[in-house]
Point group: D3
Chain length 302, copies 6
């Protein structure tokens, strides 16, 4: 039914569906529906195209669509019923892999936490929290330090979630990171990611690159935890992800006439990152290019 | 009159007199009064001792007292009337030097600002603002970027003062420093100091050491502007300045049960500082030891 | 016709055909001719061997020959007419890919240039110029700084070509790079490559490694733009590319009796390079090994 | 014969069979025997499982077992006789590849040694010695500096072996490395590896990371030479290799009551390593992840 | 005679007298003449003022003038004949110290050259050449590498002078420095200085800062050899020395319409310099401030 | 009595008197005796010369002699009895200062040790042990890690002395430093010195520079504790202190025919040292030059 694809595209565009993971799952499910309806490879490609450009800045969207279209492409010479069956199987497996990705990253990442570690994190990240909670439930005793994360204080949320899960947590202001890395003898830094580029650079909440510079100056590992669906295939072809400015009001409305800049993200260069934890295992940042091959991305008009 | 010294000591203790500069001037003026009353070197030493320990953490207090006592020591063999006259002259000159120090630092520091510079500053500092305002009045066109400076937002005050003086200013959050050093092509960083240690390390508002690490990773100069009265003589003898924690309430009262650390200061190592602007001129951080000789500091029981 | 292969080998040996790209295309076209003549896999292998060692130092030559021989190997079990057809198709596609590689790199690389960028380049490179000209034609306003590039002043050629294409360009001497990276607020450095090694190290015009050290000391990105045909498969097996010394006369004939060294190239280590732009997309330097697998290189007598 | 697998497992467990290479070969030969006996894929999987956990810390053991099981998996749909034949061929090829790996690494690595090089090595490594001896036999003149390697003085063994093979060798104490890198103008450092992690970090004899920090501070290349069988597949899934403490007696029995720590290994981060020489060629450390794909590792219960 | 001062001022202004050392000596000799004529301290101060501003950018000029005026100041309470005698003695001693400074630096600096050293230098410097020639005459065997130093090729002059004095010398192009530091196993870098700033930063021929960055990246010492007369007292009070652009013609007249920048100097930060050799001995760069006290500099209107 | 001076010179030459401190005290006492005998300045100068060159490599010897001779010089215009009295007073004060220097350094340095610190030290040093024992007696709880210090195992002595004084101590091998700095979360490194050079470089037991490189790579402070008598005045005039090789037997006699190098010391560059603790207080390494002025050193024939 054509409507499902259109509706999903609208929901993604209107941000009714949001979050890298939910967008990827919604797009795959819409295409799964088209497959179930018996659409041809050609029509499926059209459905894919409709979805892919619903939100131009969503990294996970083209990844999900391309993955499904590639499955279709590989199966296109099968008999019709086999075609549908094989496609549905593989799409279901993909959807399930996405849904399990946070738990899988938690399982892998938790093994990196050692007894008596002190670990710093910045902002709020489902994957990083998953890792902390899994390790704690497995009986590892460690401490977390989290930054306030101005201007929206996502660090308060991190602190609350960890506290609720009994993980010992200390909150500090963003500018205390360098001082506290030394003072609290931080062993490792864990952060999430909004996108991973072809050369292993990571885009994440503003402040991440600063934490990285400080941690690296003391040879403290910076570890990124993120689903492979957030690796940006367009970065292979040179697309520069623009850093959104979220306006001055988030910061203060006290300073009339003063220019206020409020970038949402920054770029942490690959050479400041020691490893990336994905649901497919731990990789060096430079394996980002290889990971992207998994999604066989193609840009139109190439 | 004994009362002036006691009153001044009380005023310093009760923080009625505060700020490194005001404390130094008040102590010197109290001793000047004792000299004017014709006290003997021995009695002046007692007055000095009373003042010196009124606030144990104030770096400028022992500097001012020791300076005056040294003047007294040098003049002690003079005839009585000459003794008083010479002492008063030299004490007046010291007081005047202190009072002019901000203007003098502004004059020297403003010469370091070049046309089209973009300069970042952290927190709020009279000496740094003085430099910016002097340079602007002298017709140099440049831009200032100032950090919010959580938790007390002293950066808002910096932004307001600069705006009032027509200096173009951009405010950013503390965690955006590393990103903005590159993005806004910052040329130099200026900060003030709470204390300068014997080996050139600088104690200043929490976050300064982090700005320093980021600036240094891009070979951007970090310049400190501070009066020589803030150089810590006790650091010559190993005293470690304790970093005060200002309590959690300044940060948030939202997170019951979460440990919150709120250090007021951090230490920026000398190797991250390119120069220190004092009222006696520009020095490399390693000349701190030499500058301290100016105050001829002696710890009791040495 | 056997003659085509021999003639091509001679032309390559005599440097009548030169330049990494032209050599690769000529070798592939010679083998295409052999395929068109209906030669057997065994004879094609002999033709390949003849070509491969025509110029031992040409990185692109074994890459092109091996690629074609691998195509032949994969198709060798096909029926004779299919064998020829499939081979020709794939060889044509390879040749076309090579011929389009500069345009493709220009397309990808131009997306990395942002409004108001100042970009430094060293020596003269078709791929780098292609990127600049494409970005400029796409309407991006930016500035280029190019080095003189002693002793042969290839930088003058770069300056002329950019000027002809209206790209604003500033020329500086080679020793002014470090000063100008700061003074002109350079945002990125782009260079070409003579060869890329298995571990991501890049061999390019003498001076490149020096530009890299300076740029890295300020956290300025060094970006390499080069065809994948220049990735050295022999470096996988330990071959060290010897740096040619071009004799003293290129530098001066004024200094009789003074030893003059004039190396043509130097090696920039992978850790100083942020990304490599190839016609297959942008990769981290460490993906060089993976890129080399594309050419399935085999050295005889291994 | 079931007994061969059990016996091999016992021999590995009891350390009768030891050394990464010998363990891998023994495990592969045991499974080869099972294949020769005509066992089914299911029974072969059981045999594999028995072997795999014989020594939990041996990196090469699961690699060898998984490799064979993967061969079996790929061939499982073949006719029975073809199944056995194909399996035996591929297993034999794997075993042979392992046995030849040291010679292959020597061949590749020796090409990296240039005339008049001074090369430092730490501890004792078959692969590194192989490289030195091969280069020397090929007529390259160079010098080796080897560390004593406390507490077990493996460096004495290195010195003896090199001396026996006529390679000029100088022995120094472990703490003289930094001084001697400069004084003797060391050009390259070669070390072996006990394990290579998914992100390219290398585990080797205690002291290696220290040599690496010193070498890197002077931009001297650190080159690791190791078989791919030592790449740790479990590190992909987060396993942290525990560093064994070998007890105080190896160091001294003179210091009753003093705590003595004696870790056997340390971790050299990937960013301190310029290349890894394997029997499959030279790779950047970040290609470790890719190399691990070669062994298609799967952990039970994933 | 008033005329001598005026004439000297004119000669300095017209660059008839040039070079830091010659200017200093000429100024001191003019003031010596005034002293010999029996001028009063007040008139001597006027003569000093006339000379001091003859060439605003000459660092050595105010140093020499201030030194003499300080001598006068210290002696002003002496009887008239003693005043003249004491002044003449001290001025003669100062002039003699200046004239011997190159020989003294050669003596001190030559002791830093060790047997078999390879030493790189940039541009042409009397002090550096003096050191090389003294060491060679003392029988130390070492090698010098000198850069061409575009655009005016002062390196050719260095090469000729060294060759004439039998010191083995190799000439390279400016962009080969980083490559050759490693390739030729350079042990130390020696350069001269045009000016030394209060915080130890050194202004010297364009390219020096680049050599410094490269040398430092390999922990190779950068040693500056310069007279104390070149330490800039005005830098204590914030004066920024402007870097002169010498116009495009020195580089090429081939590139009509291309912007060519040709700065004469650059600034090497103190943290890249290991020591400064002066005629008063070897100092760390941070002792520049202390050295400047020697000249007791005062800026008018302070 | 002439004999005392001659005997002292002989005792120093024959190493009957040894150790920087004892040599300094012995030389000062011999000259004190000459003063007491009523010798003239001229004769005292002769006595000084006799002593100064008794052992050419002892840094403290010329310092002590020059200090006394300078005292004599300053007092030479006094009346004879005053001359003797003043000299004796000042020489006694100098001798007393030397004898108290270890206790004074312990007092100053102990203040730098903070609760729960983990401090690493290399080799054995009276000043460093003094600091540890003083801090422990003052009630500060901290841990020490000491290196074995091959080849003579001075670290065993350090461990024993600390253990005897109840200071908790852990011994590690020299090559475990980098690993343990991280693993044991070392906060600071303290070492002694054999000599301090004019530019702040420190000569100490082989291995110190390696500890420094590792500590600096993690931004861990390296603190040197040493008497000012060990600052080398000859280094001001370019003298390079030769590093003694102590022969192979200290290392092993097992390796016939293998070259063994055994340097006793290495040089830690000033930029790796955060502070130097002397009996005159804490200084930055760059204040070494200033400290040397204290000894007013003059080389003959200057």
């Amino acid at each position: 039914m054509k409507d499902v694809v259109s509706k999903t595209a609208r929901d993604i565009k209107s941000m009714k569906v949001r979050g890298a993971l939910d967008i990827a799952v919604a797009a795959a499910e819409a295409l799964r529906n088209s497959v179930a309806l018996g659409k041809t490879p050609k029509d499926l490609a059209k459905d894919g195209a409709k979805l892919k450009y619903a939100r131009p800045t969503a990294v996970s969207l083209p990844n999900a669509v391309n993955y499904v279209l590639e499955v279709v492409e590989e199966n296109k010479n099968l008999a019709k019923s086999d075609f549908k069956k094989k496609n549905l199987e593989q799409i279901d497996s993909f959807i399930s892999e996405q849904k399990n990705s946070i738990a899988r990253i938690a399982e892998i990442g938790s093994r990196l936490i050692e007894k008596n570690d002190t670990i710093l994190t910045h902002c709020q990240s489902d994957t990083v929290e998953g890792i902390f909670i899994k390790a704690w439930k497995d009986g590892v005793k460690f401490d977390v330090v989290c930054t306030e994360t101005r201007p929206r204080h996502q660090g308060y949320l991190t602190a609350k979630i960890l506290k609720k899960n009994k993980v010992p947590v200390t909150l500090i202001i963003d500018s205390a990171v360098n001082h506290m890395l030394k003072k609290l003898e931080v062993d490792k830094v864990f952060v999430g990611a909004d996108a991973v580029l072809a050369n292993g650079d990571v885009i994440n909440k503003i402040g991440t690159s600063q934490v990285a510079v400080c941690a690296n100056s003391m040879e403290i590992e910076l570890i990124v935890a993120t689903q492979s669906i957030k690796f940006s295939p367009e970065s292979v072809y040179g697309k520069v992800i623009e850093i959104e400015d979220r306006g001055s009001k988030e910061i203060t409305s006290e300073l009339k006439g003063v220019r206020i800049l409020n970038p949402a993200f920054d770029v942490t260069p690959a050479h400041h990152i020691s490893k990336i934890i994905t649901e497919h295992g731990i990789i060096p940042p430079a394996a980002a290019y290889q990971m992207l091959r998994h999604f066989k991305y193609k840009i139109e008009n190439e």
